[in-house]
């Protein structure tokens, strides 16, 4: 449906490297990246606000690179929502229809239909300045849907919302997508990306690092950066040692990892998710590491402890292991790494 072919753009101090991506009809495509990665710039290029230095933007196999913003039929909601402050909510929603010379009766009918569908019919006689963040987003969605866009671009739509409103909007966006709307959503929030995306792409420093299904990216991150973004907290630089026939930590050669399969790289990054490290209750015949707890922190997923096995490692403690007086700083524990679930990325 939408295809970006070798899109490039340079500014002093920033370069969007040639970006190629394809969004299919009905997809919920999430572009994930930190601030300054070039996400919003890419969105502006697709919308027609910014012209790329090179490359083409194709919509339904048609080159729209030279089309004006008002002729592209791409809906866009910017991060600041941009409701027209001098107009009532009704006139905001009606705005794109009046631009298309749609008759007044039809405009009224459609505003009524959209405002009901998005739960803002009680607000149509109000000005935008009195609306909450969630209400403003709904009005902006009603307004952009009034254009019947082929593609909807959303720039960090959940940023200004509290947790409850976020959940509501996530449900609404999912419903819109299920009803057939193709969506490109940019965000810096991993949770948001994973809960919405049918296809995920990672943008970092102007480069598209990885693209695929959220499951594939979470499971097989292509680089240490993507791994960290996917909240894999153990990214250990390792080197192959012929004498031992195993990989050892580059920072401490005494730490040896017995990988079940030798991928044949001389050096790489070993990615071990914190939940794939088991805490052993008692001495075991399994290969294990002796570890000293150096720090503990409570997260939404439970308790996370940082331990020293010669190098720092983060371990997620399962809820059933928790108890009073357990996992205190300085305590000694034994760990077993489920290396079958780990991933080794070569350093090239």
């Amino acid at each position: 449906m939408l295809q970006l072919i070798n899109i490039e753009k340079s500014f002093p101090g920033f370069r969007l490297h040639p970006v190629n991506l394809q969004i299919h009809q009905g997809e919920y495509y999430v572009l994930l990246g930190q601030s300054g990665a070039g996400k919003s710039l890419l969105l502006e290029i697709i919308a027609g606000i910014t012209r790329p230095d090179h490359g083409r933007v194709m919509l339904d196999s048609k080159d729209i690179s030279n089309q004006r913003i008002n002729q592209r039929n791409i809906g866009v909601i910017f991060q600041d929502i941009s409701l027209f402050p001098h107009m009532l909510v009704f006139d905001n929603i009606a705005y794109p229809m009046i631009s298309r010379n749609i008759g007044k009766t039809e405009v009224r009918r459609r505003v009524d239909e959209l405002s009901r569908a998005l739960g803002v019919s009680h607000l149509i006689n109000r000005k935008p300045d009195g609306l909450s963040g969630g209400e403003s987003q709904r009005v902006a969605l009603a307004r952009v849907l009034a254009t019947s866009p082929k593609l909807l671009l959303l720039d960090e739509p959940l940023t200004s919302l509290d947790v409850l409103r976020k959940d509501e909007l996530i449900r609404l966006l999912k419903q819109l997508n299920q009803d057939g709307m193709t969506i490109l959503h940019v965000t810096h929030e991993v949770d948001e990306a994973l809960s919405l995306a049918s296809h995920l792409a990672i943008l970092h420093d102007g480069k598209l690092l990885q693209s695929g299904s959220p499951e594939a990216i979470t499971r097989y991150p292509a680089s240490p950066f993507v791994a960290r973004l996917m909240e894999i907290k153990n990214c250990i630089e390792v080197i192959y040692q012929d004498a031992v026939g195993q990989y050892i930590a580059a920072d401490n050669h005494a730490v040896v990892f017995h990988l079940p399969v030798n991928p044949g790289f001389r050096a790489g990054h070993l990615l071990i998710h914190q939940k794939h490290i088991r805490i052993l209750e008692e001495p075991s015949a399994e290969k294990s590491f002796s570890a000293t707890i150096t720090d503990t922190s409570l997260t939404l997923h439970g308790l996370e402890i940082t331990v020293d096995i010669g190098i720092p490692i983060v371990v997620q403690v399962p809820a059933e292991k928790l108890g009073p007086g357990k996992f205190l700083k300085g305590a000694l524990i034994r760990l077993n790494f489920n290396l079958a679930q780990s991933r080794l990325i070569p350093i090239v």
């Binding site: 027609g48 606000i49 910017f78 027209f84 001098h86 107009m87 006139d91 631009s99 307004r143």
Partner: protein, 265 residues
């Protein structure tokens, strides 16, 4: 316990008081030394009422006609970068800094019967010199910067994001201008128009060179002062100040009134 005001604060109050006194005292003195019967009889003079009416409508004409051209130009200045933009901005401010009599001389050379513009105008039966249209031109020349600068500031304060959103919603650039930029900058534009109108009404130097007759009120005040002295000039000046204040306050009230939206409901 109340904090003791600083010396700087006290000095600022004292100096501010002096400045206000300097502004108010001459005006108050003039009003107080004019009797009500004098004001009434002067207000009944045909010359006076004619000149006030002429001053008001010529200034209004200058503001409306030049406003139509200046407002889109201000939008251009606020939104686009172009070569020599700073020079253009400097040219706009020029009438504020040059002596207005000099501006009148310059304008006279431009619109007199011998000039290209003058010849073209006389071809369609208009002679700017000694004509209300010439007066309006002189008023516009000296007061236009107030409108252009205020409108430009207003347009600059409109977030570009709103205009881009409107474009993305299918609006043409002209619709974006009329439905987004213009309404959001309207307060500044009206304020600029009031300033232009007020400045045009009070103009003397440029107008007196273009058209001594028909007489606008500032020229009438000058003439009465020159011919009959302070006593005769004063009532006209007081009446003109009162009229100016009333018009100014009325326009300000209108500008501050909540603007209604032109929706379709």
């Amino acid at each position: 316990m109340l904090q003791k005001p600083s010396i700087l604060y006290l000095a600022a109050i004292f100096l501010g008081g002096l400045v206000l006194l300097f502004l108010v005292a001459p005006l108050a003195g003039m009003v107080l030394s004019t009797t009500f019967p004098d004001l009434l009889s002067t207000a009944r003079e045909a010359d006076v009422t004619r000149s006030i009416w002429l001053t008001v409508w010529t200034s209004m004409l200058a503001t409306v006609v030049f406003g139509l051209a200046a407002i889109p130009f201000s939008y251009l200045l606020a939104r686009k970068s172009f070569p020599l933009k700073n020079l253009v901005k400097g040219i706009i401010d020029l009438p504020v800094v040059i002596p207005h009599s000099a501006a009148g001389i310059a304008l006279l050379g431009f619109i007199s019967r011998d000039s290209l513009v003058g010849k073209a105008a006389s071809w369609v039966g208009i002679d700017f010199v000694g004509n209300p249209l010439g007066i309006a031109l002189a008023m516009a020349f000296v007061s236009l910067p107030f409108l252009i600068n205020a409108a430009r500031d207003g347009f600059e304060a409109v977030p570009r994001r709103l205009e881009r959103t409107a474009m993305a919603l299918g609006a043409s650039p002209a619709r974006v201008f009329f439905t987004i930029a213009l309404p959001l900058a309207l307060r500044n534009i009206i304020s600029g128009m009031i300033m232009m109108f007020g400045r045009g009404m009070s103009e003397f130097g440029a107008v007196v060179i273009i058209a001594y007759h028909p007489m606008i009120t500032p020229v009438l005040i000058f003439e009465r002062f020159g011919t009959f002295g302070l006593k005769y000039a004063r009532p006209v000046a007081v009446i003109f100040i009162i009229v100016s204040l009333i018009v100014f306050i009325l326009l300000r009230l209108l500008a501050n009134k909540q603007k209604t939206n032109g929706g379709i409901r």
